[in-house]
Amino acid sequence: MSVLIFAEAEKGTLKKVGFEVASYGRALADLRCEPLIAVTINTNNVDALAQYGVDQIVQIQDDSLDIFSAQRYAQVIAQVAQQKAAKLVVLSSTADGRYMAPLVSVILDAGYASNVVALPSATAPLEVKRSCFTNKAFSHTTLSGETNIIGLANNSFGLHEKPSQPVIETLELTLDPDPVQSTSVEKVTGKVAIADADIVVSGGRGLKGPENWHLIEDLAETLGAATACSKPVSDMGWRPHSEHVGQTGKPVASNLYIAIGVSGAIQHLAGINASKVKVVINNDPEAPFFKAADYGVVGDAFKVVPELTEKLKAFKSQTH
């Protein structure tokens, strides 16, 4: 028996989320006294997993998997789980991770819990804590499959180094075709993606119009942050829908979330609540966001934000 993780890569390089899943997998394997096995697909720097306690790495090299396919990746993970007698599989909560997980669960006839935020409180039966009601609550859920899949919520466990000396093996698998074909991928270049961002700077209606978004962008650039917006802002077309965060938009689980001119509607707060530290800048001291935030500035965004950006630039040049 073993614990299996899928360590996600982008263009051949492991993503940070791959190390977080490895860290979680290590702790889980320790709880169960089982080895931790990682499967990677077309990944060059698999050695980096040795920092996070992986005992064994199964490397899949297959040019036909260069382009992500949910059904084929799911087959890879399921076949490796079967070969390695893994009764617990840990996947990330990236767009691709959440796409694949239910497909893996059908192949393995496994139980699946998404949005898991902590190590299991019990292993037999397996009880996990997951977020639900869009971050307004948690549920303690018992998984009763013979095999079970945990979808780890992004940025919920963190990175925990634990050096190991993994055995690396290469495996060749036979995969069925995916009825869905990718034709092209369009990525926004030169910007930090909300899903990958440690810091997110978000703007609301208080910014008065799209022409003022340079305030958000300058602050975000200074912090190496992603930019986001509230629902009214995307509905009015000031910003693209891909930047809308909240209950019906993208979820945010960053380390720092800075909301500028966002009132803090319950749906917005639900979507960003998994962020660790929240800062609000708003001229209305009654804005609901002040109740949800850790730090707040009551003031005019048009004055506060440029000044904060300048001060942060000075701070960054001192500390680096």
Partner: protein
């Protein structure tokens, strides 16, 4: 073209979330139930397929009789038929098994689910249904065109989008972007009257095997009060973020 839209009955997005019976059950007292927003984006796209390409749109939910008002609303929006599979929705696996059993009897060209429900946030019914039916699947779907049995789609990925093609039959997980908020159809009086005449059939549940069970709910710990920093003391804010919160 036959389109099935799977609908989840969820608490309104502004609902206060509370639990009763020793935190084992969601408190529905005073809660307004709505069509799960992700499902409603999918339903609207399906109605466009009906208007433009003569698709026949059926809506389905797995749940008890308390789910019927939202099915009536779907009929008022424009769906031709509604189905309710009469069982308590225990977990995503069981729900997907029930829908799959129906889809094996009555075949559909396109099955639409929401990318996730806003209550349990499982995000699993569409994918499990796909696996059980052995068809194609695209979730986080933000664009869908169908021509001669071929679908051209886009899905949202982290930091961009991916364009895809697939032959029908197909399952998609809908979200905002597939249609916009402004496109959502508010039922008019004629639609509401017509909905009363449209079929809402109740189907018996099959044998399903849930693989998870909620033992207890928990609300997040109440957080402490906000630390306010004066607008002329921004150095202090930077100091707090650096030394106290350690996030910059």
């Amino acid at each position: 073209m036959k389109v099935l839209v799977c609908i989840s009955n969820v608490p309104d997005t502004t609902s206060k979330i509370n639990f009763v019976e020793g935190d084992t059950r969601f408190d529905t007292n005073g809660v307004q139930f709505i069509i799960n927003p992700n499902d409603e984006f999918g339903l609207t796209r399906a109605i466009w397929l009906q208007q433009q390409q003569q698709a026949e749109v059926t809506v389905l939910t797995v749940g008890d009789a308390s789910c019927e008002p939202i099915l009536r609303k779907c009929l008022a929006i424009g769906a031709q038929k509604a189905l309710r599979i009469d069982t308590t929705a225990t977990d995503g696996f069981a729900v997907a098994q029930e829908i799959a059993a129906h889809c094996k009897e009555t075949s559909y060209d396109l099955i639409i689910t929401g990318r996730e429900s806003i209550d349990y946030n499982g995000g699993m019914v569409g994918g499990i249904l796909t696996g059980l039916l052995g068809v194609g699947f695209v979730t986080n779907c933000i664009s869908l065109e169908i021509e001669n049995g071929t679908a051209t789609l886009a899905r949202e990925i982290d930091g961009g989008k991916e364009n895809l093609t697939a032959q029908l039959p197909l399952v998609i997980g809908a979200q905002k972007g597939l249609v916009e908020e402004d496109d959502l159809i508010i039922p008019n009086m004629r639609g509401i009257m017509q909905a009363r005449q449209k079929p809402l059939n109740v189907l018996a549940a099959q044998k399903n095997t849930p693989k998870s069970q909620v033992s207890k709910f928990e609300k997040p710990q109440p957080k402490g009060p906000v630390k306010l920093v004066a607008e002329d003391q921004l150095d202090e804010l930077i100091n707090l973020l650096h030394n106290e919160a350690k996030v910059i």
